[in-house]
């Protein structure tokens, strides 16, 4: 537990001092949203708020790739893995700290992106329920961060890691995004049945639980040489 806190503190300090990840993520999200907005000219997005909500989730997934690909960059570039791996602390603590830090970075990025999304794409005075969207984002971010930290550890020493990480992650993003989109879209008034928020959150919670267990159990194998 002390190891986890110290590792998390280290990850947060690295970001605070280095400022590599969060600014890039924010710029990417803003740029993507602006790009789509401009690309539409003055037109509304066909499909209205529903399509826009789907777009938001796609952008979220790609932004998380940015954060994950650079995970463990410091450890790799300065050979620090040897220091972490020869220490008696549980290797899964490294995974947990990296997942927690990534979760926080995603949250910060989305806090910036959401108001922009509202501004650019809010149509017909209708929008997805903010509470549902925030809850879905929180749970989805958690799942992405946990699975992502595991995969980031895996590709850390592989040559083609920038390309490989998104490829490995994508199949796992699909069920997540499917449910998240459906859930947020169905929260747009008028609601006439459709996927209840609780059911969607339930699935996201299941997703998170499975990858929490798998990430915690498998990280050891991924970093051991």
């Amino acid at each position: 537990m002390r190891a986890y806190r110290a590792l998390l503190r280290k990850d947060l300090l690295l970001e605070l001092r280095g400022r590599e990840l969060v600014p890039a993520m924010v710029v990417f999200v803003v740029g993507a949203l602006v790009l789509v907005r401009l690309g539409l000219g003055g037109e509304r997005l066909a499909g209205g708020t529903r399509a826009a909500t789907g777009l938001l989730w796609v952008v979220v997934v790609f932004t998380s790739m940015l954060a994950l690909v650079r995970s463990f960059a410091q450890e790799r570039e300065h050979g620090i893995w040897d220091g972490l791996l020869s220490a008696p602390a549980d290797r899964s603590a490294i995974w947990a700290a990296r997942a927690s830090a990534t979760f926080l970075f995603l949250g910060v990025t989305q806090a910036v992106a959401l108001p922009l999304f509202w501004l650019f794409f809010l149509q017909d005075g209708r929008s997805p329920s903010l509470a549902v969207l925030a809850a879905a984002l929180a749970l989805a971010d958690l799942g992405v961060a946990m699975l992502g930290a595991l995969l980031a550890g895996l590709v850390s020493n592989v040559r083609a890691r920038e390309v490989l990480l998104p490829v490995l992650f994508l199949p796992f993003a699909l069920p997540l995004v499917s449910v998240a989109v459906r859930m947020t879209v169905d929260s747009i008034p008028p609601q006439n049945g459709g996927l209840g928020a609780l059911q969607g959150l339930g699935f996201l919670a299941l997703y998170d639980t499975i990858f929490a267990l798998l990430g915690w159990a498998l990280f050891e194998y991924v970093v051991e040489d």
Binding site: L147, L150, L154, N157, V158, R159, A160, L164, V167, L168, L170, P171, F172, L174, P175, L176, S178, V179, V181, R182, G193, G194, L195, Q199, G200, F203, L206, Y207, I210, F211, L214, L218, Y221, V222, E224, D225
Partner: protein, 236 residues
């Protein structure tokens, strides 16, 4: 060593024989025994290929993941091979699933069987996972590290299968409580249809096992040749 060599060809031969017999029986039943489906007509029979092949693909991935997990625990390189081969066969059976599935989608439109959109989407996710598995394997040099990474990813895939099935179903229908498939089919299917289906399933699985044993043997011979060449060339 010689005794075990004699045993292995027997297993592959036995499996091949069983597969051939079952396949012949299945084909006979599919084309001559089973009654024509009332709503979909003669070409509905592709169901008896498509679904068993799909189920066999899931079975192969689970088997690959299982051996992957065993590799992580035992670090026995032969388990890496035993995990890789089912995943490789999964590509073959998976492609066949997608092909037969799209043929069938063209023919059928009254989905009494509920094998519509959601199943294909789920399967596509798993198929993409399989392709990613091979990208991973190609990106790492052969050895224990590649075996470890492959095993970890295969195990993750097993987590993906239920999540994919549930997730896509949840996202595309409104029905969370009753998963579509088999309980209803088993009840709705006529006895002879169900029997034919089971025989076809058994045939596909036996075929997969046969291909597994043959490919495993082939890869082992490859490995041994490589080791001999390395010794003959002298170690670095």
């Amino acid at each position: 060593m010689n005794g075990s060599h004699r045993a292995r060809p027997d297993r592959a031969t036995a499996a091949a024989t069983a597969a051939a017999l079952l396949m012949a029986l299945a084909l006979a039943m599919i084309f001559f025994y089973v009654p024509t489906d009332v709503s979909e007509g003669y070409s509905q029979r592709i169901f008896y290929f498509h679904v068993p092949i799909a189920l066999t693909t899931y079975f192969l991935f689970t088997w690959g993941a299982l051996n992957g997990a065993r590799f992580l625990l035992k670090r026995d390189m032969s388990l890496d091979l035993k995990s890789y081969v089912p995943m490789h066969l999964g590509v073959i059976f998976g492609s066949l699933t997608l092909v037969t599935g799209s043929i069938w989608a063209n023919i059928a439109w009254g989905t009494w069987w509920f094998w519509g959109d959601t199943q294909l989407t789920t399967f596509l996710i798993i198929f993409l996972f399989n392709c990613a598995y091979f990208m991973l394997r190609f990106s790492v040099e052969p050895g224990e590290r590649r075996a470890t990474f492959s095993a970890v990813y295969a195990v993750l895939g097993v987590g993906l299968i239920p999540l994919s099935v549930i997730g896509v179903h949840v996202a595309q229908t409104n029905d969370l409580i009753h998963p579509i498939t088999f309980n209803e089919n088993g009840v709705n299917m006529d006895g002879s249809m169900f029997l034919t289906f089971l025989v076809a399933l058994a045939a596909m699985i036996t075929l997969a096992v046969t291909m597994y044993l043959i490919e495993l043997r082939g890869k082992r011979i490859d490995d041994r040749l490589r080791a001999i060449r390395r010794l003959a060339g002298g170690e670095a």
